[in-house]
């Protein structure tokens, strides 16, 4: 989740709150696909492709129109963010309309019984191992694409300085759509994996997804909005701290601690752990 927010931020400078909605929608689409295709391993990449297409569509229709209408001042900076918030509500309502407000179940494709070493069973199970490997692979691929390829260079340039990128001959608007598409795919994967790795239950008002949004955003800020490894590191730190709080103190404190951590990072190191200072200046 944090990865996909950083992706949109890096390629378009928009904080995309609808990301959670898209992840939720993707999880539902994943559920529908599993039901129809009957195979999780086909449904997952399909849902990612649909997530990418949907995300690109949103950028193409909504963000471009907004940019056309307001090109300067405070409105231009805020309108896209508010629009993504509105979209989040819209997606939730639509999901409720299509699939109803009750639970649907998305079954985990792998065993969730922990690995056994002789007599002891550890918490790590095939499903969570897969999720971990998947996230690491995704991060590596995305990092390589961003840092080493021409497309990645175009994506970064368009985010840092759209006008200069344009003068250099980059088709900035197309590159933005691509950035959203990649983020949409990552968000779809996050939505589905989160669901199957958790309880497997989905509802439009799913608390888990609200948490995913809030924590994804916090993790992205903690790690540095500029940096992909930062997003993963942020998610790890946040996860560890919250788990510790939950186990040793109280589950009720999780939210409070998460926000305190966010504020602390914003005060002490506003560019995030791995964010660079140069990123803020431009």
């Amino acid at each position: 989740m944090a990865i996909s927010m950083v992706l949109v931020w890096r390629s378009t400078r928009v904080v995309n709150f609808a990301q959670a909605g898209m992840a939720l929608l993707s999880a539902y689409i994943g559920y529908e696909l599993v039901a129809r295709v009957g195979n999780f391993w086909i449904a997952l990449p399909l849902a990612m492709i649909l997530g990418a297409a949907f995300s690109a569509f949103i950028e193409f229709v909504l963000m471009r129109t907004l940019q056309k209408h307001s090109t300067q001042g405070a409105i231009a900076a805020i309108a896209p963010i508010i629009a993504t918030l509105g979209l989040l509500g819209l997606i939730r309502a639509t999901i409720g309309f299509i699939w109803g407000h009750g639970d649907v179940q998305l079954q985990a494709p792998l065993s969730k019984v922990g690995f056994k070493f002789g007599e002891t069973t550890i918490i790590m199970n095939p499903m969570s191992l897969f999720v971990l490997l998947f996230v690491i692979t995704l991060m590596l691929i995305v990092s390589i694409v961003f840092q080493k390829t021409n497309i990645g260079l175009a994506l970064r340039a368009s985010a840092y300085a759209p006008e200069i990128a344009q003068l250099a001959g980059i088709r900035v608007s197309g590159i933005r759509t691509l950035g959203w598409a990649i983020a949409g795919a990552a968000g779809a994967a996050a939505g589905i994996l989160q669901t199957v790795n958790g309880t497997g239950a989905l509802t439009p008002e799913s608390l888990e997804f609200s948490l995913l949004l809030v924590f994804g955003f916090i993790a992205a800020v903690i790690g540095g909005l500029e940096s992909l490894p930062g997003a993963v590191l942020g998610a790890l730190i946040l996860g560890l701290v919250l788990a510790a709080v939950q186990i040793y103190i109280s589950g009720a404190l999780v939210f409070i601690v998460a926000f305190l951590l966010l504020l602390l990072v914003l005060i002490v190191r506003p560019q995030g752990f791995l964010g660079s200072k140069a990123g803020r200046r431009a």
Binding site: L153, E163, A168, G169, R171, V172, A278, A282
Partner: protein
């Protein structure tokens, strides 16, 4: 050649460029001088497609400069270095250069162009892996010009490359610009507040005042013109 006819560009109610006409021969260096607010930057932004015009025409060879976005003009051989060292601070020197040639299909040619840039500005070659953020003002300007050159332009629009630089560095940048015109056959429009420096290296000159042309002609004639001397050259 670059032909501008009756061009008018407005900022809201204000006419930043008011009905101007001039032309620049192929392979020449034209200086556009004038004080702050004369409309120099507006003129450049209009020619590169960043700003739209109210009226008039502007063409480079048979290419209409008033139609289409900057990325379109770049593909037609028109490159613009905008005011204030237009480099991307978060990218390395080499990435900034590569950016200028990303649209080119022939990667080998793009590579060869990059070597040309390193030859023109050896300092950039020494710092190719450094972030542009760590460069000095002069090096940044070299990088900005180098980036524009990466698209192998036939027409190069330079907006105040001397801004904020030390006299010695300005001299060096101006020499490089003259070199780009003479050895590489590029046509250059150079916008400058440093009027004397620009006219000295230019073939022709246009003096802008409040969006209108106050004087124009051969650069040497403008330097000798008493009215231009007192008003713009300061002696």
């Amino acid at each position: 050649m670059l032909k501008i006819n009756n061009l008018t560009v407005a900022h809201g109610a204000i006419r930043a460029i008011d009905d101007i006409s001039f032309s620049v021969e192929k392979g020449q260096l034209a200086a556009v001088i004038g004080s702050n607010g004369a409309g120099k930057t507006t003129l450049m932004r209009t020619l590169s497609g960043l700003k739209s015009a109210e009226n008039g025409t502007a063409t480079w060879l048979d290419h209409n400069l008033l139609h289409g976005k900057p990325e379109h003009h770049v593909r037609q051989g028109v490159s613009h270095v905008s005011e204030g060292k237009s480099v991307i601070a978060q990218l390395t020197v080499e990435e900034n250069l590569d950016l200028g040639a990303l649209w080119r299909r022939n990667r080998d040619e793009a590579k060869a162009t990059k070597e040309e840039v390193f030859h023109l500005f050896p300092r950039l070659g020494e710092r190719r892996k450094q972030l542009a953020d760590t460069l000095s003002g002069g090096e940044r300007q070299m990088l900005a010009i180098g980036r524009a050159y990466m698209s192998r332009p036939a027409l190069l629009l330079l907006d105040e490359p001397s801004l904020g630089l030390a006299p010695l560095v300005i001299e060096q940048i101006f020499q490089s610009i003259r070199h780009i015109v003479d050895s590489m056959g590029v046509t250059v429009v150079l916008v400058e507040q440093n009027a004397m420096g620009a006219l000295k290296i230019a073939d022709s000159g246009v003096v802008l005042n409040l969006g209108r042309i106050a004087a124009s002609g051969k650069a040497s004639d403008l330097i000798a013109d008493p009215a231009v001397r007192t008003a713009y050259l300061g002696f």
